[in-house]
């Protein structure tokens, strides 16, 4: 799937002028409040029209002001989970969920009603009216409604913000499965770096209506790492499962990584997100530590930030960023070229 987006839109004093391309998988829209994320998503859905510009999906022109094309939202087959749930107040939860089924083409329909309802934990709500639902319940129904319309692209505007960790932890893997197994491309607006890093293949960072950075998640987050949480996004291969310890071992050029049991097939290629704060550095042989993941690394660059020091590392050919205090940098003598060990707490990987 390829989404090309190029549009200008003025809303009062705010001007959106953005251009990006998304190549399937999950593309995250990331940016501060009021930067224009919802505006972009609305344009893709067809709920508003750009002043100028062109948006295409898999070669099909959704809108092109130059030639006057504007495909109505109902013909785009683009699902949308709104920032506010927008459930139909006059329909039961059940009817809200199946609404999209009434209209979508029978061919190309996917997604099993029962399975989606169970996953979202809304089975007990089916007979209820949206008005009495709690905030999180509404949002879950909204996710189900969008999915059950069998879209070919899914727009999600902060879909999990209203959910608790446990529920989030259940839904995220499901979204991953949609991405990987159903090959459903998703445009995902979120403030949560860990969500984005876990799900997204690409990130588009929006600031004041413009694209500040765009590209693969590893690169972009490393670029903006000064104030980000991301230390590294490593690609590794599932190598073994240790049933006794309940961990999965991943192969990476710089060493073996232990993470909580994944349940993936051996040989699968996975992406592991490591927060900068979860990375410690050791010079020389570390003592007897509970930290199991020890990757050989080399310091590439050291840059002083406002509050701490960002240490760029090369870990078996992949970039990694660690943040340490000035004191630590001094004591350890961290400087380009130094060989160090990156220590990563295994349990810290459980939600990437």
């Amino acid at each position: 799937m390829t989404l090309t987006f190029e549009a200008e839109k003025r809303l009062g004093d705010f001007v959106l002028e953005a251009r990006f391309t998304s190549e399937g998988g999950v593309t995250a829209l990331f940016g501060p409040s009021g930067s224009g994320k919802t505006t972009i998503v609305n344009l893709v859905a067809g709920l508003s029209q750009p002043d100028r510009g062109r948006i295409t999906l898999d070669g099909e022109v959704l809108v092109d002001r130059a030639v006057g094309v504007m495909l109505p939202p109902s013909r785009r087959r683009i699902g949308y989970v709104f920032q506010d749930a927008r459930l139909f107040p006059h329909l039961s939860v059940q009817s809200n969920l199946s609404y999209g089924r009434w209209f979508g083409p029978r061919a190309g329909r996917w997604g099993d009603f029962g399975a989606i309802v169970e996953l979202l934990g809304i089975g007990a709500l089916l007979k209820r009216r949206p008005l009495d639902l709690s905030g999180g319940e509404k949002q879950r129904v909204a996710i189900g409604r969008a999915l059950l319309a069998s879209p070919r692209l899914l727009l999600m505007d902060e879909p999990l913000a209203a959910l608790d960790r446990a529920r989030r932890a259940e839904i995220l893997p499901f979204l991953e499965r949609l991405r990987d197994e159903m090959k459903l491309p998703i445009l995902y607006v979120s403030h949560a770096v860990d969500e984005v890093a876990r799900l997204a293949d690409q990130v588009v960072i929006i600031e004041a209506g413009r694209v500040a950075a765009a590209g693969p998640v590893g690169t972009v987050f490393a670029d903006v790492a000064a104030d980000s949480e991301t230390g590294a996004i490593l690609t590794a291969i599932v190598h073994a499962e240790d049933e006794i310890d309940g961990v999965t071992l991943l192969d990476h050029p710089a060493g073996v990584l232990q993470i909580p049991k994944l349940g993936r097939r051996l040989g699968t290629r996975v992406r592991v997100h490591i927060r900068a704060r979860d990375i410690a550095l050791a010079v020389g042989e570390p003592g007897r530590l509970s930290i199991r993941n020890r990757l050989a690394a080399r310091v590439v660059a050291v840059s002083e930030q406002m509050s701490d020091v960002a240490v760029s590392l090369d870990v078996g050919g992949e970039p990694m960023l660690a943040r340490v205090t000035r004191g630590a940098q001094r004591d350890l003598g961290l400087a380009p070229g130094l060989a160090v060990t990156a220590l990563i707490k295994a349990v810290a990987l459980d939600e990437r």
Partner: protein, 231 residues
């Protein structure tokens, strides 16, 4: 029961019911269409359109009836056309009475429905569109159900108006027993009759009871339907 009203009165009651029901039912689709235009349309001449819809409210009913007679009478342009093309005659038929009542109640119906449509959160319609519903489907599955309070209010108002209307009716289709003599026309006749006040009052009560029934029904429907949908 039979003793309560004369045969002619029974006739008037039956006819009034038929006229009011037909008037309301037949004008509903147009009422909804006009309400949509008023609530959502942004076209030149919108105000004029709105004014035309309000006309029957402003003009004395007799004038409305007279204009209907001019247009839809057997010799009127529209009346003649309908007669020749479709064999439909409205003048001095109960169908004409229904037309008069429909016209008189139309502004009430349209305004009530338009108010409800204006109050609908259009973002819900957008949500429906993203779920694949086309314009018509959105209208039928979202707009219309959410406008239900207005539609019911419109129905009740125009039904009540139809039961009370007589100025336009008597002027357009006269006051022919069994054909165009509705309850209000009958009341009018009775009021002209010395000593007819009692009978007039009885018939008035009938009107009131009928429209009370309509009111209760509409409120019951509204309660059922909107029980849980109010924000």
């Amino acid at each position: 029961m039979d003793g309560l009203f004369t045969a002619e009165e029974w006739q008037a009651i039956g006819l009034s019911l038929r006229v009011a029901c037909v008037a309301v039912a037949a004008s509903l689709p147009f009422g909804i269409a006009c309400a949509m235009l008023l609530a959502r349309g942004r076209f030149p001449g919108r105000t004029l359109f709105s004014a035309v819809i309000h006309l029957p409210l402003v003009m004395p009913p007799v004038v409305t009836g007279f204009l209907l007679l001019l247009a839809f009478g057997r010799k009127g342009p529209i009346g003649a056309f309908l007669d020749q093309q479709f064999g439909v005659v409205l003048a001095f038929r109960w169908t004409g009475a229904a037309l008069a009542c429909a016209v008189m109640g139309f502004p009430l119906m349209v305004r009530a429905i338009a108010l409800s449509i204006e109050a609908i959160d259009q973002r819900l319609e957008q949500a429906a569109a993203t779920l694949g519903a086309g314009r018509v489907a959105v209208f039928l599955t979202v707009t219309l159900p959410l406008a239900l309070p207005g539609i019911l209010a419109g129905l009740v108002l125009s039904f009540a108006r139809a039961l009370g209307e007589f100025g336009a009716t008597i002027t357009f289709v006269s006051n022919i027993p069994g054909e165009t003599q509705t309850i209000p026309s009958a009341i009018y006749s009775l009021i002209q009759t010395p000593g007819g006040d009692g009978a007039a009052l009885r018939l008035t009560i009938v009107s009131v009871v009928i429209s009370l029934g309509a009111l209760v029904l509409s409120e019951a429907i509204a309660r059922r339907a909107t029980r849980d949908t109010r924000p």
